[in-house]
């Protein structure tokens, strides 16, 4: 089985296993590789982190489809765990959905979500959100399902209606998205443990995702607690971005103060460990394998 199909199947199996999948949002390929090597089961290539990493800008849909797709592709190619992709509102109207879906599927993603915010959208935990009428995302989901080329490529619906019309409306919308074909459900920004419980109770048999954003509107629960509540995926959307920004800020402040990185090495990975981590030895070995001397053995009639 080739990588793309293997990743789709692995993600689907994990999501439907009854255990929670721990999914890290990675801002770039290096972060994804770090997540993978430290036990993350899946990686999420998402708009907030990609926008921050590629543009140093907030998640206000300034990072376009081409940029998001390319970032997701780099991440997918760097790891051997499933990668889920944030398709925002589909990057346009219903005419965009087939290309958006197929392009994300073809780069090897395990799935993607589509959401019902009004374009241009913003991070789900920011204020000032508005949502489209339910029919819009229903239609987009139907088109996405009809456009996908592999049944194991999972489509998740995301609603941001909790912030606009309340939880009951968000649950109602999600029911319609499920009927339209959503394989997975995500209700963004519930505000309490009870709301998380109510969400799961509304969809006892459909895999659900919980979004644990530091400083956001949802209380931070442990993966084990979310699993007990019945959630199937927990995603940490900003932790790697914030940690990276924090560490780099501290480093630069230190350099500005001391004029050197000496004495700061204990907060860094070492030269040799980093080279090992990114596979320098393996690449050097491969390079040597194709040397002119090694090709002589094929130069026989």
């Amino acid at each position: 089985m080739q990588k793309n199909e293997r990743m789709r199947k692995q993600f689907k199996d994990e999501v439907f296993s009854g255990h929670i999948v721990r999914m890290m949002v990675a801002p770039d390929a290096l972060a994804a590789k770090i997540a993978e090597s430290n036990g993350a089961q899946a990686v999420f290539s998402a708009g907030y982190a990609s926008s921050a990493s590629a543009l140093a800008m907030p998640d206000r849909e300034i990072a376009d489809f081409g940029l998001i797709l390319e970032r997701a592709r780099e991440i997918i190619n760097a790891v051997n765990i499933p990668v889920f992709v944030d398709a925002d509102t589909g990057y346009g109207d219903e005419q965009n959905i087939p290309r958006t879906t197929q392009a994300i599927e073809e780069i090897g993603a395990a799935g993607m979500f589509l959401e019902d915010q009004t374009w241009p959208k913003r991070c789900g935990h920011m204020d000032g959100k508005t949502v489209e009428p339910t029919e819009i995302l229903e239609k987009k989901i139907r088109i996405a399902k009809a456009s996908r080329r592999h049944d194991n490529f999972l489509i998740m619906s995301r609603t941001d209606a909790r912030a606009v019309y309340g939880l009951s409306d968000a649950i109602q919308r999600s029911r319609r998205y499920k009927e339209a074909g959503a394989d997975l459900i995500f209700i963004e920004a519930p505000r309490s443990y009870d709301e998380l419980k109510e969400i799961h109770d509304a969809f006892p048999t459909t895999p659900m995702m919980a979004n644990m954003i530091e400083g956001g509107k949802t209380p931070l629960l442990k993966a084990q607690e979310l699993e007990k509540l019945g959630f199937n995926i927990v995603v940490h959307p900003t932790a790697m971005t914030y940690t990276q920004a924090y560490a780099e800020e501290k480093l630069i402040q230190n350099i500005q103060q001391t004029g050197t990185t000496e004495g700061y090495e204990d907060k860094m990975i070492t030269f040799s460990k980093f080279n090992q981590f990114v596979g320098l030895d393996k690449i050097n070995a491969r390079d040597a394998e194709y040397s002119p001397e090694n090709m002589k053995k094929y130069m026989i009639n």
């Binding site: 394998e289 194709y290 040397s291 130069m299």
Partner: protein
């Protein structure tokens, strides 16, 4: 097209067309050709306005390939050029082009960077074999094929073609394509029992030669488009001149 080689064996002499832009690719797709080559020279002209394949980087080419992959209905042949660098680069370029939708890859035997030329340079057998081995090692799908375009018959002659083909067979390459040949040379090559299936590049004046499994178009559609573009430009200029005269 699950197995283009089977198709060519049953339909010897098939011409595989080349495309360098989305419109050409769509038109060819609608005509149910068994395969389409996404030619690097034509793509460089389309994306960069340059008539040299060597100016086109792997990332520029593979992005275009992924766009065309969404439109394909038959085999997509990707142009690996001369591997986009060293054998190590060839390894990663092969992965990139296969993941971007290639069913068949064509590696040529120019040194890097490859040039669009009627008289190209030839790289050493060792460099070619290193790149061919790297490419075969990089392939993920057992159904993906590697063809080698031998462009140097004017440099290394018949003997060179024979040797390179033998060596490439030892590596596990699937077929060779001969380019920059004289018709007589190609006919003689087709008569020989080369150890790999033989294809050749095609232009409208190409002769019919038995023993050539398939022909790879060098860009007839693009050339024809250029001629009609020039005619249209001429007409626009004439219209503008006539208006100015008024």
């Amino acid at each position: 097209m699950k197995n283009l080689m089977d198709y060519l064996n049953k339909n010897q002499g098939t011409i595989i067309p080349s495309a360098g832009n989305g419109q050409q690719f769509n038109l060819l797709t609608e005509q149910n050709f068994p395969a389409i080559l996404l030619d690097a020279t034509l793509t460089a002209e389309n994306l960069l306005g340059e008539n040299s394949q060597g100016l086109l980087s792997l990332s520029e080419y593979s992005k275009f390939e992924r766009d065309m992959n969404l439109k394909k209905k038959s085999s997509l042949i990707a142009d690996l050029q001369s591997g986009f660098g060293s054998p190590l680069n060839t390894y990663y370029a092969t992965k990139e082009l296969e993941r971007s939708g290639a069913d068949i890859l064509i590696l040529n035997d120019q040194p890097f960077p490859a040039h669009t030329s009627n008289d190209p340079q030839s790289t050493s057998p060792e460099d070619l074999l290193g790149k061919a081995k790297a490419a075969t090692d990089a392939l993920e799908n057992p159904a993906t094929r590697l063809w080698i375009k031998l462009e140097g018959i004017q440099n290394y002659g018949f003997a060179g073609i024979e040797k390179r083909t033998e060596y490439l067979k030892n590596i596990g390459v699937d077929a060779i394509i001969i380019d920059h040949f004289q018709n007589k040379e190609l006919a003689e090559l087709a008569d020989q029992n080369l150890p790999l299936p033989l294809l050749a590049t095609w232009m409208p004046e190409a002769p019919k030669i038995d023993g050539i499994l398939g022909w790879i178009d060098k860009g007839l559609i693009a050339q024809t488009e250029k001629e009609s573009d020039l005619a249209a430009i001429h007409e626009i200029k004439q219209g503008g001149l006539a208006y100015a005269k008024k």
